[in-house]
């Protein structure tokens, strides 16, 4: 999980919102400006995810709930990526849709996220979770402390994940 990320403007441009006294006017971005965005905060925006944005509620992603955050959900980033292939190099504008969420065939995954390791990461994480839950009946929390961040380039947990596992 990468909680923060930065883009540098390679030319002078404007962003549609963020300027003016109420932050609703366009904002000027000079060439060379670092634009940092906080994915951790974006994913907790109540205007996108509703009043329970802070709650851990997997069901919010069920299609029936109709949640479509678009660019408000950026776990694997988005934007143009230079494609290196046997054909001449080209740029593809990618939309940061929930590739894993939609049941698209594998060949359709590539242009959706900017992260080349997206599929690998999700399959690796899924496989690990499945195998652990097959092996263990339950898990006991052994740490009463609050979650504390350990933030470097990725976001880990300062207190670790101290548990006891109960075999099947």
């Amino acid at each position: 999980m990468v909680p923060l990320n930065t883009r540098i403007a390679n030319k002078a441009t404007t962003l549609p919102r963020g300027g003016g006294p109420d932050g609703r006017s366009p904002v000027y971005v000079a060439k060379g400006t670092f634009v940092t965005y906080n994915v951790y905060t974006m994913h907790r925006r109540t205007d996108i995810y509703g009043p329970d944005a802070l709650e851990f509620r997997p069901e919010r992603w069920a299609p029936e709930e109709g949640l479509r955050p678009g660019w408000g959900y950026l776990p694997f980033n988005g934007g143009p990526r230079k494609q290196i292939s046997n054909c001449s190099p080209r740029y593809i504008i990618q939309s940061p849709q929930l590739a894993f969420q939609h049941d698209l065939p594998v060949t359709n995954f590539a242009p959706l996220g900017i992260c080349v390791g997206q599929q690998f990461a999700l399959i690796e994480a899924s496989y690990t979770i499945i195998r652990l839950l097959q092996e263990f009946r339950s898990m006991e929390n052994r740490d009463s402390r609050e979650w504390t961040e350990n933030i470097n380039l990725t976001l880990a947990i300062a207190t670790g994940v101290k548990v006891a596992m109960v075999p099947r």
């Binding site: 990461a121 994480a125 690990t128 499945i130 929390n141 380039l153 947990i157 596992m165």
Partner: protein, 199 residues
Amino acid sequence: MISKIPRDGSTIDLQTLFFQLTLDSATEFLFGESVNSLLSSEGSEQQSFGRAFDAAQVSIGNFNILGKLGGYFAKDDFEKNCKIVHDFVDKIVYKTLKEVDPSDSEKNLVPNGGRYVFLTETAKVTRDPKQLRDESLNILLAGRDTTASLLSHTFHVLARRPDIWKKLQAEIDDLNGKKPDYETIKQMRYLKYVLTECK
């Protein structure tokens, strides 16, 4: 990894295991052979590599926060850790450079049984050992720490939310204990929601 988890109810830090697991799987993909940190003993070269890689990142984070002041912040340790990481990767890089040589048709055969190995493929494009090391470490960081942190957060939540554990296990029990393949994983909806919510 599963065999490293105690079955007698004693406490274990899963986060440590997840960072070892993803170090092992990422290095297998990058270098063609895993460093097997989960299997190696405490203090082994493999575990020191993982530890130095983590510690060097903490230093980089501190340098970023402190800016110019970072120059006073435990530079010695940082350089020591970088050297451990670089030496470890360089050994593999030089071995690969010896094995892969696009100008030599004899050596251009695909090693590793036709499997994609990042370093082997990159060595066909550049012969610069420093670039090969940098590209490998870049992918290692991107492919390893991210997944380990996703798994850690998932289990951090599951340890505190038995209701979610129960729903997840119900879906997983539909496999009847069979190890999942790619297609099966793709079809597991609740697992997908949990991971999407965790990110």
